[in-house]
Amino acid sequence: MNRDSLKKESLKWLNEGIITEEQQKQILNRYPAKKRTSLLLTFASLFIGLGFLTLIASNWSLIPQLGKMSVILVFMLAFYLTGDWVYRNKSARVGLSFITIGLFIFGAGIFLTGQMYNYMYFQAIPFLIWAIAAIALFILYQHPSLFVIAMTITTVGQLYSAWVYGSFYIVLFVIFVLAFGHYTYHQARGLYGYLFSVSFVIHVLVLTFSTGQGYYWLLIYFLVLYVIGDVVGKQDIRLPFKSVSVISVFLLSIIEVFLLSNSYFYENIDKSVSFMFIWLSIFVITIVLKIVKKQSWQLIDLVLFLPVFYVTFGDMFSMLCLFAFSLGLLLLGYKEEDHARVTNGTITFLISTLIAYVHLAWAFLDKSLFFFVGGALLFVLSYFLEKKRRTVKNEVQGGDGK
């Protein structure tokens, strides 16, 4: 709690005679005033460092090659060493921001040296090296901010590989899984879980599209993420993994609704046999796990992972899956009076309705009529769903009060 707002609040308590002056002091002492200087210092040092960097960057072409090299090295070392010293002796936060700048200078250094000395890379090696350096620093300091930075560099590296080389960089992926998987599993923070699963989704998107696999392989990758979340019992991994996986596959199903109605696209899907085999085995394992863990009600999630492109009218089937999923969530939410599930069910149901409407009515209705009817439909739907949701919420809160 904020000390200032507590001070105001406790003054009221004091005036109303709820607490004595002595007690007020005791309470306030529990919340010591924050040291603002460290924050200011961080900004001061950051600005000075960045000032130097931009000064050099703007005169970059005037500096001879060896001079450029020494500038990069001296600055990098200076930021790293001061950062480490400040981290140990003064403030962890300021120290880490210095170290982060050092890491960025290293990254810039790789690209600048590459450009200076005309290096041609055949893969995203600069990002690999940079990511390894970032991971090493995270391992040394174990601070979440370095985790975020290292994860970002790795993920951007994979995107860079897709963008520049049109290929999936497997080495980067392996490092991602080993290093980040290890720390995500052992430290089990919600933040790490979400970052890991989002990055995983980006990695597999690059894998699927740059290697020219059928888009449907994503179903398997998302399902793998889901199962891992299920198997690992830790709450801070289970929840992020499963929700990111379900959100991704939900979006994929929406896209499928439109893609599969395109007959050209549909006829050109190269249905692979190995896909069916792998998909089926993982799917069966997931179902068995659910039943063994007595979570059969969660089977509703799996409806989104069905390979709808195997059937004719896959777009309709995909739409059905969207509805089955959201209605399932809603019904379960009402039944168990689970507020969060009802909210999610409401949102997904509204989205599904909208998608179905756009998909079915766009071609038949006059455009303005389309929007009018669609708007009215959504109004009515949201009215009823919201009403129902509130009743559930009130019932839950009423139940807690008793």
């Binding site: 990098m76 040296t113 005309n118 049109g166």
Partner: protein, 166 residues
């Protein structure tokens, strides 16, 4: 222990950057120099501020000398065997996706596949030698000459650089 690991981490980063620079200068000592003909370019086009763009004859490889997959993907690695031609310039002998052995007066250059022109049946590749950085205000002398001969040094570890242009 943590101290040592910290110094090791930043030490390796320094070494990596220094290594990049040093290996570039080492090409001069260990590299083999060859001469390459550029393609005639519209002289007005080649000069861009502080560098000139160069296109080489060996960047166009006809189907007959292409000993790799017919339709490789953009950005794939290709090994090009170069052979000393009649006028002491190096010409393409063969292009393959595998590294091959060399005899005297032959070198291998690594390149990236660019695209394939199916009408002229020519594969275009990129050696990463397309830019030559020049000192200020010397661009004029390049603007006049159409076709040039470029001296390239190739290190045993595959790295290469332009040593001179005439």
């Amino acid at each position: 222990m943590k101290r040592i690991l910290f110094y090791l981490t930043i030490g390796l980063q320094c070494l990596f950057l220094i290594g990049l620079a040093v290996s570039f200068y080492l090409i001069d000592y260990f590299g083999e120099t060859i001469k390459l003909e550029t393609l005639p370019v519209d002289p007005q086009d080649i000069f861009y501020g502080d560098y000139v763009t160069l296109r080489y004859q060996i960047e166009e490889i006809p189907d007959a000398k292409w000993d790799a997959e017919k339709d490789p993907e953009y950005g794939e690695t290709i090994y090009v065997l170069l052979e000393k031609g009649t006028e002491s310039n190096y010409q393409v002998a063969k292009a393959s996706s595998e590294k091959m052995g060399t005899t005297n007066e032959q070198v291998i250059m690594k390149a990236k596949v660019d695209y394939y022109d199916s009408t002229t049946k020519v594969h275009y590749v990129d050696y990463g030698l397309g830019r030559y950085y020049i000192e200020d205000n010397t661009g004029g002398k390049f603007e006049q000459s159409g076709q040039m001969s470029v001296t390239v040094a190739i290190a045993p570890w595959g790295q290469k650089k332009i040593v001179g242009i005439e």
